[in-house]
Amino acid sequence: MTKIFISRDAGALCVGAEAVAKAFAKAAKGRGGLDVEIVRTGSRGMYWLEPLVEVETPQGRIGYGPVKAKDVSSLLDAGILEAKPHDKCIGVVDDYPWLKRQTRLTFARCGIIDPRSVKDYQAHEGYEGLKKAIEVGPEAIVETVITSGLRGRGGAGFPTGIKWRTVAQTPPQQKYIVCNADEGDSGTFADRMIMEGDPLVLIEGMTIAGIAVGATYGYIYLRSEYPHAFETLKIAIEEARKAGFLGSKLAGSKYDFDMEVRLGAGAYVCGEETSLLDSLEGKRGEVRAKPPLPAHIGLFGQPTVINNVLSLASVPIIMAKGGEFYRDFGMGKSRGTMPIQLAGNIKHGGLFETAFGISLGELVDDVGGGTFTGRPVRAVQVGGPLGAYFPRELFHTPFDYEAFAAADGLIGHGGVVVFDDTVDMAQQARFAMEFCAIESCGKCTPCRIGSARGVELVDKITAGEDREANLEVLEDLCDTMKFGSLCALGGFTPYPVMSALTHFPEDFGAQKKRLEAAE
């Protein structure tokens, strides 16, 4: 029996993986019942090679990609089941340079295992973290996560262990673990990949969090734009429950923990933690003023740990290998690895998990291979719609929370969107304000009103109407939004706007820089 692995990740499906899988099944039947088993996995994250077909051989899994349904006959004719060559062959996938230069901790299993199988998960070191967690107990779990230096991967970068300790210290009562899976930032897809490719690592992470703080129930709040992740998560939760890893006295321990997945309804602002909690409670997703912190008064008024998918999915390996193991990766105060997502106009788009410290330039030019249009890279937006636009002059910036903050940017959820030299940065600045106006929850004035006025101002500036005066008003407005908004939506929208203005003034009608460049 030869195993053929084909991804069922939405990123592979969007370029035809379903048709390829069907073509293989049909061809296997048609050729007198070839002795093959087709395993549907998540994605390795090398999306320019999707649909990627991997064949199990004694040398390891050999990859072929990108494969179209019409290529299947020629692949089988060439003898790929016997590891024979074919011009789509990329060699042993684990040795493929793009994958090999990564440090895959959180994504160790993604694209390799059958995401719906607890057995497969366990065969690849799954549930080792939970085993350790049960052994050492709540206090030691919290200490291990603090030692690891893990910071919230959703964007804010708050130390995960400190958050957990705050909830653990509240008196015993109904507490909750909430997973923020409202991955709305353009340029990001790491949460989606984990939920579709290795959902059990998230379920395990939430279970460990539950034990650590004394919470017995968890919710995954998933955005409605991810129907494939929804299906996979529901199946994985059910499988974990059947295998005894969820429910009362889970895995033979004294602990109880169960969970469910809830769908959002298309509101970007619900990725903000307090607005997410209100949405889970069945209300308008409006941002809450803090304090009180969700750790004290969170979901349904109870103490709540709310963490991003990647933060929770990083916990199992931290527990299994120790806080020090994880902490030893990275730089400065950014410890461990970051799943970086390369997107937009990029040749090699996909997931690149690496220790903090890699430079933006290396990511874009070297790892990403520049633009797929072949034109020069002009701007890069890091950290989603609320992240700053960086010009090539800032490509030396290392991927690190503090270094990006020092350059007036943010790493956010780790999305990197590449633009070529056809981009109009004034249009991008306008869009940032427009997006904020569309998605504002309306609770605070700077965001609700400022975003709409911001769109007008950019229009006036690009039309040359009272340019200098309006630029001053726009800067003033950005300042008000940055310091006066309740949450990151209004507070960070100034980042893309101001960075576009600062680094690309010629797109807003300024003459100076363009003349200098021409000389």
Binding site: C14, F189, A265, G266, G344, P385, F419
Partner: protein
């Protein structure tokens, strides 16, 4: 043939009853109603309010807050086209323009033959393969003119 059932208060009451005992039941109820009817009509609001023992104003506030909820059923197929930054970087604005021209509708509108409803979406998480779109629950990436035309043909068939 529509994918959705015609609105009846009886069927709505039945759906509401299936979810009303969940904690924070409003969104699960609204999502379930939209899945069955393709929309959440105004008439659903008093039914939900009464089942959850909250005011109709609160239900109305919730329904109108979220982009997903429609008041009318969509066309036979729903095409969500991503308009966010990553897709913009990869030629999405031209794809958006072509899409609107070919279908003869603006964002949020349904074609006259009621075959396709075009909706904007701000990120499908397929940014590695931008520009991206979703037709009902099927996803499409790397949309260039040719791929878009094939997708529109599929949507209109």
């Amino acid at each position: 043939m529509s994918r959705f059932e015609p609105w009846t208060p009886e069927r709505a009451t039945e759906i509401i009853a299936q979810h009303q005992h969940e904690k924070g039941a409003t969104l699960p109820i609204l999502n379930a109603l939209q899945e069955v009817f393709g929309c959440v009509p105004l008439e659903a609001e008093p039914l939900i309010a009464s089942a959850l023992n909250i005011s109709r104003a609160e239900v109305h506030g919730t329904v109108t807050f979220y982009h997903d909820y429609r008041r009318e059923p969509p066309g036979r197929r729903t095409l969500k086209l991503c308009l966010a930054e990553s897709c913009q970087a990869a030629g999405g604005r031209a794809i958006e323009k072509r899409c609107k021209e070919k279908l003869g509708v603006e964002m949020g509108e349904t074609t006259l033959d009621r075959r396709v409803t075009l909706e904007p979406v701000y990120c499908l998480g397929l940014c590695h393969s931008s520009p991206a779109a979703m037709l009902d629950h099927d996803v499409y990436g790397m949309l260039d003119e040719e791929a878009l035309d094939a997708l529109l043909k599929e949507a209109q068939s």
